[in-house]
């Protein structure tokens, strides 16, 4: 299984090089539903990828489904409303839980100057982060229930429109020598991937960047420290295709995260401590190893809040990839 994760392609285009490095011989299927209504504006993409492309047009197909299949359309809109309501509650709980973490973290730092109470302070920090994980898990479980309700309200197998698209997409994917997933709106990308049950065979190489890279992972985490509404906490959004395991993809990390705030970064790394928080900045190109692991040199957030390179003397990874990163 060959998979290459890239940084954003806006200022530094590396997708063509990455594709050529895979030695692909044949048509390339592109999934750029994250571009939404600009999905068909693909001249530049075609040029970069060498021209032999098959655009799956998942976004336009999803609009076609919503328009033609009234039952599914109504169920999808109801799902979206309920998902928005769930997200709203999740954000409320998350913010409160994170406020608790930062408050304890401040106290922990104070405790570092005093031997007495240090162990208790660290224990409180671990436990407060566990509360955040619990909120993340609660949200994921609720979302799973919502999906089950959506499936019950409008069984996808019963939709001839969706079935038709799925058939056509299976043909297109079946002819593809490689698949490219672009950036864009990761929510739209995930929704359309799910709607059309896109499965990328292990043997088909994949190149993905930004939102596309996130969509390949197990757990898609949204983040933006510089939005107009100020700091908002990183939030778990949905499951991805799970082709890539053991990492949280952080595209544009330098532009979107306050990487100089080590306390904040440390909390993020500890919150997702079972996975690597991988920085995908401009120019980054990571071909995963044969067993799906990150290559040496991949830049990750350590639980000390600093950026480390895998394999570097101060950043070599232990059993779970985090042992020496402290």
């Amino acid at each position: 299984m060959r998979t290459v994760l890239l940084g954003p392609q806006r200022f530094m285009t590396t997708a063509g090089t990455a594709l050529r490095s895979l030695g692909v011989d044949g048509p390339v299927a592109t999934i750029n539903a994250g571009w939404e209504e600009r999905e068909d504006v693909v001249d530049e993409l075609d040029t970069v990828l060498g021209g032999d492309t098959r655009h799956l047009r998942l976004y336009h197909r999803s609009l076609d489904v919503i328009t033609k299949d009234e039952v599914f359309g109504a169920a999808a809109l109801a799902f979206r409303d309920r998902h928005d309501a769930l997200l709203s509650l999740y954000r409320l709980r998350l913010q409160n839980a994170m406020d608790g973490v930062y408050a304890v973290q401040r106290r922990t730092r104070e405790a570092e100057g005093r031997a007495r109470g240090e162990a208790t302070a660290y224990s409180a920090l671990d436990d407060s982060i566990e509360v955040v994980r619990h909120v993340d898990q609660w949200y994921a479980a609720q979302l799973k229930s919502l999906y089950a309700e959506l499936d019950a309200a409008s069984p996808i197998d019963a939709s001839s429109v969706i079935g038709w698209h799925r058939g056509e997409l299976a043909d297109l994917l079946g002819q593809a020598a490689a698949v490219v997933l672009t950036g864009g709106h990761v929510g739209t990308l995930l929704r359309t991937l799910r709607l059309f049950a896109i499965r990328i065979p292990d043997e088909v190489p994949v190149v993905a960047w930004s939102a596309g890279a996130m969509a390949l992972t197990e757990r898609v985490v949204l983040f933006h420290d510089h939005g107009p509404e100020g700091n908002t906490e990183a939030e778990v959004f949905d499951r991805g295709l799970r082709r890539v395991r053991g990492l949280v993809a952080l595209p544009h990390a330098r532009r979107r995260l306050r990487l100089d705030d080590r306390d904040r970064c440390a909390v993020m790394a500890r919150r997702f401590t079972d996975q690597h928080c991988v920085l995908l900045d401009d120019g980054t190109a990571l071909e995963l190893t044969a067993d799906g692991g990150l290559p040496l040199g991949a830049r990750i957030l350590g639980i000390d809040g600093a950026i480390h390179e895998l394999g570097a003397p101060n950043g070599s990874h232990g059993a779970n990839g985090r042992g020496a990163v402290s």
Binding site: D84, M214, P228, E229
Partner: protein, 382 residues
């Protein structure tokens, strides 16, 4: 910067000077002259008295200018903290004749339904780039509509903003804007919406811009107005447009009396709207006695706010409030923040060194709209 080094004082030290030297001085420095946290207002002319008129709480209004000896140049210097923005006019007296007008030496002017004023911007104030037309931002559409209102017993015009890429297959939140025409004309709100939606700062939304007819009667806690908004406008729009059917996706907005109209409508119809966007709301009240100082127009406002303060409720979940630190309403606005919070609502409150005017309200739109209707920025990774 010390007083002695101000440009006007350097000119004073060179006196007497001729008219040509004054011309050069004005041409070089313009007016008002901003030096650090000092602003020097200027006027040239043969008059008996010149004063700067403004409404900045804390500064003398009017602010008399002094004539530089043996010249026709008048000046006054005042403190102007970083980031301030002040609207003002000049007032001259020639014998018994008074005249008020915009500063002829200052081309920067702000407009409002009451006319125009000169603008003095301090160091650190910049017009936000998102208030100007951005050719890359795809424009939304303004659609003229009219509703027959039984509550108001008239035809009520409404301008509907539909965002770029509006698609009936999707669903949108709704923002109802009091003094809607003024927000469009004086706060560039269509351009602002186009830009903020384009930048992903604000979610694509539908806005209903509603103008009043008899504002002073309809806006301070007027039952027919509230009924029109909640029981006529809202259902009609929900029928005609693909709106999200949930209170959290509905907000009422207004400035000054429009803020009172928003709050009083929400109080009359609790739970219908999820949030309020109140800008310099006329939240005037009395703690004791009846002298509120606002004149008869504020009587119904004070009655409403006093009643609300006596028994605060939470008609919405969230309130975004903004107020200018230089306007008289700053104290009531600050005072209401803990009252709203105490009632159980989440309140985000921001202040700016500005006054009770449309450009102040325009400049706060990004803060308020992005908080109430966060855009998909967090979802987009190009």
């Amino acid at each position: 910067m010390s007083e002695g080094r101000l440009a006007i004082n350097r000119l004073r030290e060179r006196l007497p000077v001729d008219g040509a030297a004054i011309d050069r001085f004005v041409a070089r420095y313009g007016a008002p002259i901003i030096e650090g946290e000092r602003a020097t207002f200027l006027f040239r002319g043969e008059v008996d008295e010149v004063r700067v008129r403004h409404r900045v709480v804390g500064l003398a209004d009017p602010m008399p200018m002094k004539r530089l000896p043996d010249t026709d140049l008048w000046a006054v210097t005042t403190e102007l903290p970083t980031g301030s923005r002040v609207e003002y006019q000049l007032e001259t007296r020639h014998g018994d004749h008074y005249e008020t007008f915009n500063d002829p030496l200052n081309q920067r002017v702000a407009h409002s339904p009451m006319g125009s004023s000169s603008v003095c911007a301090a160091t650190g104030y910049e017009v936000p780039d998102w208030v100007h037309h951005d050719p890359e931002a795809r424009p939304g559409e303004l659609v003229e509509d009219t509703l027959r209102s039984k509550a108001l017993r008239r035809e009520q015009p409404v301008k509907l903003y539909l965002p770029a890429r509006y698609n009936p297959a999707l669903r949108y939140p709704l923002l109802v804007v009091h003094d809607g025409t003024d927000y469009l004309d004086y706060a560039a709100m269509k351009t602002v919406l186009d830009n903020l939606i384009h930048r992903l700062d604000v979610a694509p939304l539908v806005a209903a811009f509603v103008p009043p007819r008899d504002r002073l009667r309809e806006y301070p806690n007027y039952a027919p107005h509230a009924r029109f908004i909640a029981r006529e406008l809202l259902p009609t729009l929900a029928e005609r447009l693909p709106l999200i059917d949930d209170p959290h996706a509905r907000a009422l907005m207004g400035s000054s009396f429009g803020g009172i109209a928003s709050l009083s409508t929400a109080v009359r119809y609790p739970g219908v709207f999820g949030s309020l966007f109140l800008q310099s709301a006329s939240l005037v009240f009395t703690d004791i006695g009846t002298d509120h100082g606002g004149g008869p127009a504020f009587d119904p406002v004070v009655k409403f706010v006093n009643r609300y303060r006596a028994k605060p409720t939470a008609p919405v979940e969230r309130i975004f409030m903004s107020c200018g630190t230089y306007e008289p309403l700053i104290t009531p606005n600050r005072s209401m923040v803990p009252v709203f919070r105490g009632a159980g609502m989440t309140v985000k409150y921001v202040e700016a060194r500005d006054g009770h005017n449309w450009e102040d309200w325009r400049d706060r739109l990004r803060d308020g709209l992005s908080w109430l209707f966060p855009g998909p920025q967090k979802f987009v990774y190009e």
